[in-house]
Symmetry: C2
Subunit: 410 residues, 2 copies
């Protein structure tokens, strides 16, 4: 096993913060006092810019501008403009990305397009894939008559090579945070004539992604995790430019039409990825996302990814010290922006942490996820959070009825 | 032709305002000074409650509450709760409506469900149907192998009776504002074993709808027109309770799962209309909608519909006086909440009106739409707008190059 580098004292953590080239980025975020937020892999916090933009889009653009804001405030261009901002973060050209709908809806569109493009009749998912990816594959299989094959974790690569099929796969697994080799899967897909639809939800904004270089053709991802777009902010669609005009969206709504305001009776898709847009986008949520992306505009993602790895190593080191099982890769190079530990009473431990102002999340049945968003977390924050975890475990503070009552969303 | 009742002077219009039982509802709206807004059929204005709620959802719930707001602020319940508010406005039970996605996406889900339920292999649309309804039918036909049949306006009723098919139809036509007889179409569909998917976009909030009584099984509609939910606010889905558990959504995303946070590998739909939810909803936009619906909570929709008809009659009377063709039904009982007039230079006339602070909209090639939202428009507003229209036509003020330059969104 690799050596895990982790500060050995709070003073060492503070020294890392002093040397951190990203330290000032934290100022862009509105972070509640007295809280250590290790849940940015689930819902990123607000930036001041996003909050200001929400107010502007509601109070100036909607309330004062009214219908005129479609032109005057540029609402009509937002899906492509925000897509263009995301493009740099995933290693795509600006014109290859559009923001629309949710990840679930976009997975359906892209997997359908990939089946059409390749002529494949098999949909593949791995057993540990995020549920909505599995469910959408199920729905699409039912509708198209394609066969849905669930393979065990890591087996998709061989399955893709063996049979022409369309794989839905997360680049970072939502539980383990394991990172997948995009290029290897694309190569395997090319061998059989299949394709992959990538889910970048847990990867975007915390890893250096280069879809172009890896040969990826289809991807979607959500924008409310490491991109901090706000709760339920719309997702994005990437389709490689040489493929777009060969494929279409089965959800051929008017916003994907070549001339939406010509009100023509028949559907004529836009050139480019814009054809994957569907209906009218939720402008206020989309505007928040646009502003949230400002912190990424000149950011060196390599620095962000490196910091996330170091913060993650601190959690891995603590797990070892505390005797907790870690289901994430110990090698930081194989890991996304979160680290998952297990504990038989994980739910209660998480509740006890939250009660102490350390927010992490829980995934049934026993997974505690620690999100290491590098733009606003300090080394000392993670140090303090882990000290709190240790105190809770040592004192068994989690073993109280009030920490065991389940909430609707866990 | 029926007698059109319209005030004959500004003083008469003012008297109608004084007697208007809805006059005080206007106070709930933030309306820009010096503007007469006759475009509420396209994008409704903001209420003070909606603006306050946007701020609350961004600044308190997202920024301070962070991930905890899924439980603590009730985000997880919003789609069903807001759906329940809309239910009363369309004559449905609270549990029959959920808010999710856009109208385009929902039309796809519902038409697919209706094909499955009925075994029909034909999709029907009328030629004058709103473009996205036609485009979605095209996409669904392509995907399922169903036959898409476009029939001329008004011919769907007979076509439905003749052949088992699924019709996508607006209750209020977006151009003409003509109202359709829901019950008659449902009866025709039952005769052949087909079904209708209703698009309530231009109808909800301005007509007394009673889907239950009319026997409607499937409907969707947008929430940013007469419901004033904000730009691109999410749409709603209605499925009659006795049908829901027999049908499924092809977009089987995790938010429609019986236990979304159990993270089960296979899809198990929720009981009831919740199964038509897909991905994570845009919470800030959805929260604005929730608050916007407060003005409807104790509103007598019969009064609102009656006022919209009287305001519409004023436009019809003016059209007759000014020699403009009216493509909306002259009989107010057959008309939704807008009136459409045509003019060969309609685009320029609309721009000239906007320049004078009267906002109406234009639909290619020559249609000027006047929206008569009854909750915030006064009779005197419509009087003044029509006086402005008359002045522009008499002086040919629209005949200037600057009024003829097309914007991206018309």
């Amino acid at each position: 096993m690799n050596e895990i580098s982790s500060p050995l004292s709070r003073a060492e953590a503070e020294a890392l913060d002093q040397a951190d080239p990203l330290a000032t980025v934290r100022q862009a975020f509105h972070l509640p006092e007295g809280l250590i937020y290790l849940d940015g892999h689930s819902l990123g916090p607000a930036t001041f810019a996003a909050l200001a933009r929400v107010r502007q889009s509601a109070e100036a653009e909607w309330s004062h501008g009214l219908i005129r804001s479609w032109n005057d405030a540029g609402w009509i261009d937002l899906p492509a403009r925000v897509g263009g901002r995301i493009a740099r973060l995933i290693g795509a050209q600006r014109a290859e990305v559009i923001v629309c709908d949710s990840v679930s809806v976009n997975l359906f569109k892209l997997a359908s397009a990939a089946l059409d493009l390749t002529g494949a009749r098999t949909l593949l998912v791995e057993e540990s894939e995020f549920p909505t990816d599995q469910y959408i594959a199920e729905g699409l299989a039912r509708m198209t008559g394609a066969r849905l094959v669930r393979v065990r974790d890591g087996a998709a690569l061989a399955a893709l090579r063996d049979e022409r099929s369309v794989l839905l796969k997360s680049v970072v697994n939502y539980r383990s945070a394991e990172v997948t080799d995009i290029a290897a899967h694309e190569d395997a897909a090319l061998e059989s004539g299949g394709a992959v639809v990538w889910d970048l939800s847990h990867a975007t904004g915390v890893l250096e992604l280069n879809l172009s270089e890896a040969g990826a053709r289809f991807a979607t991802g959500c924008s409310y995790k490491f991109l901090n777009g706000g709760p339920g902010a719309p997702a994005f669609v990437y389709v490689r430019s040489d493929v777009t005009d060969e494929v279409g969206s089965p959800l051929s709504g008017w916003m994907g039409h070549a001339a939406p305001f010509a009100f023509e009776p028949t559907y004529e898709p836009q050139q480019g990825v814009g054809r994957f847009a569907t209906g009218t986008p939720p402008i206020i949520s989309l505007s928040a996302l646009d502003a949230a992306l400002e912190v990424f505009e000149h950011l060196d993602l390599a620095l962000a990814a490196a910091k996330a790895r170091r913060l993650g190593d601190m959690v891995v080191a603590a797990a070892r010290r505390l005797g907790l099982a870690c289901i994430s890769p110990l090698d930081a190079a194989q890991r996304g922006g979160h680290v998952s530990l297990t504990h038989p009473d994980g739910y209660a431990v998480v509740q006890a942490l939250i009660a102490e102002g350390v927010i992490v999340d829980f995934r049934a049945p026993d997974v505690m996820r620690f999100g290491l968003a590098p733009l606003y977390l300090r080394f000392v924050d993670v140090w303090n959070a882990l000290a709190q975890l240790e105190a809770i475990l040592v004192s068994r503070a989690w073993d109280r009825p009030r920490f065991k009552r389940r909430a609707a969303v866990t």
